[in-house]
């Protein structure tokens, strides 16, 4: 099983949307997928039309030897380990435990045989679960809005990853940076994409265009593949030569190529 953490310390960069979209795409493509939500907001469950549940809280209890992991079926071949507001006290409990940064590694090891790929949707903060996600995952994806502050968040998360790797001797490999909310009409967006490309080169994956349909689909408890499979956040935008570029379909292909 391969595990991919989706993180950026800046909020509102499209982490949950990216996690849900990619996990469901992999499931639709035949991969047995698990999506772990470690954000206290519990929006992964909401985006999939499910109730928020104390999955992380129970995982902390399981880590202490009490009870079982709470894993919920969301779609065909897609399960989630949900989160809710109890994740906050769970983090406080976890902070007092030995080997706390290994919790997600232990969780993923426990379910390794049941899935082909696991995605971890991180919270926009640097806490014990964020560190645990970067320790546990094989790869890291960083979605970022195309503005200066969000791109600064990219540097921060890469810095955190470098520190984790230095101190623990393990940690995720940076798989790519996903520029989100691409708006070609705004000069700032293009300038920031250029800055990102200059700094990270090939690691910058195809951008996701700004798309109202993507913002709407959680309200219906549907993923973008169900709600608007032909929308531009899926198929991308048409460039000057008439070809489609960007979008989650192209990103999924790039990820599969990179992992091959």
């Amino acid at each position: 099983m391969l595990s991919i953490a989706i993180a950026n310390q800046k909020g509102g960069t499209g982490k949950t949307t990216t996690a849900v979209s990619l996990a469901h795409r992999f499931a639709l493509d035949g991969y047995r997928s698990l999506l772990v939500d470690i954000d206290v907001q519990g929006h992964v469950a909401v985006a999939l039309g499910l109730e928020k549940q104390p999955g992380v809280y129970q995982a902390v209890q399981w880590f202490q030897g009490v009870g079982n992991l709470l894993i919920v079926k969301a779609r065909e071949r897609l399960d989630i380990l949900p989160s809710d507001k109890t994740t906050e006290p769970a983090k406080r409990v976890l902070a007092g435990l030995d080997f706390r940064e290994r919790i997600l590694e232990e969780v993923l090891n426990e379910v390794r045989d049941r899935y082909d790929v696991a995605f971890v949707d991180c919270a926009p903060s640097v806490d014990v679960l964020h560190v645990a996600a970067l320790v546990a995952a094989d790869y890291l994806l960083v979605p970022t809005r195309l503005d200066h502050l969000a791109i600064d968040g990219v540097s921060e998360v890469i810095g955190s990853l470098a520190e984790i790797r230095r101190k623990s001797g393990k940690g995720a490999t940076l798989l790519g940076i996903i520029p989100t909310f691409l708006d070609r009409q705004t000069n700032e967006t293009v300038v920031q994409l250029q800055a990102l490309a200059k700094r990270f080169g090939r690691l910058v994956l195809p951008p996701v265009p700004v798309d109202t349909r993507l913002r709407e689909c959680p309200a219906y408890g549907q993923t973008i593949w169900e709600y608007a499979p032909h929308s531009r956040s899926v198929t991308g935008i048409v460039n000057g030569s008439g070809k489609s570029v960007g979008g989650y379909l192209q990103i999924t292909e790039r990820i599969k190529e990179a992992l091959r």
């Binding site: 293009v190 994409l193 080169g201 090939r202 460039n239 000057g240």
Partner: protein, 137 residues
Amino acid sequence: MMTRRDPLGDLDPAVNSVLTDAARKQRIRQMPKSEQARARREAARKRIIYEIPEVIQDAIAEIAQREGMSPSSVVSLLLAEGIRSYRAKRASFYGLRRASRSPRYEWVLQEGAVESVLHNGLTSEIEETERNKALWT
């Protein structure tokens, strides 16, 4: 123009494409108003429209589906083969065209020319020369 050899280095083709488009638009915006319209027309000319008979359109769609390729790719490959044959004098338009009444072109296709090529192929230039010789002797 931004290309793969630019200082930005090796980029994902999608990122490269977005940046190239943006750079082109930026260049056009910086031009005097009188030149902007011309530059936009030039950019739009990258897409060419040809009139292709329905029988060929259907054949392209069928091949594209069978090969799992885009119709544009199929057209490009098959045209490349046709151009190669024409340049090697293995393809001529003998018997397929008639004099045009339009001042724009000297020749237009005869009725059923495309269907004929689809079934029998193009005559080679050597065959055409032999036929011409036979007419005069």
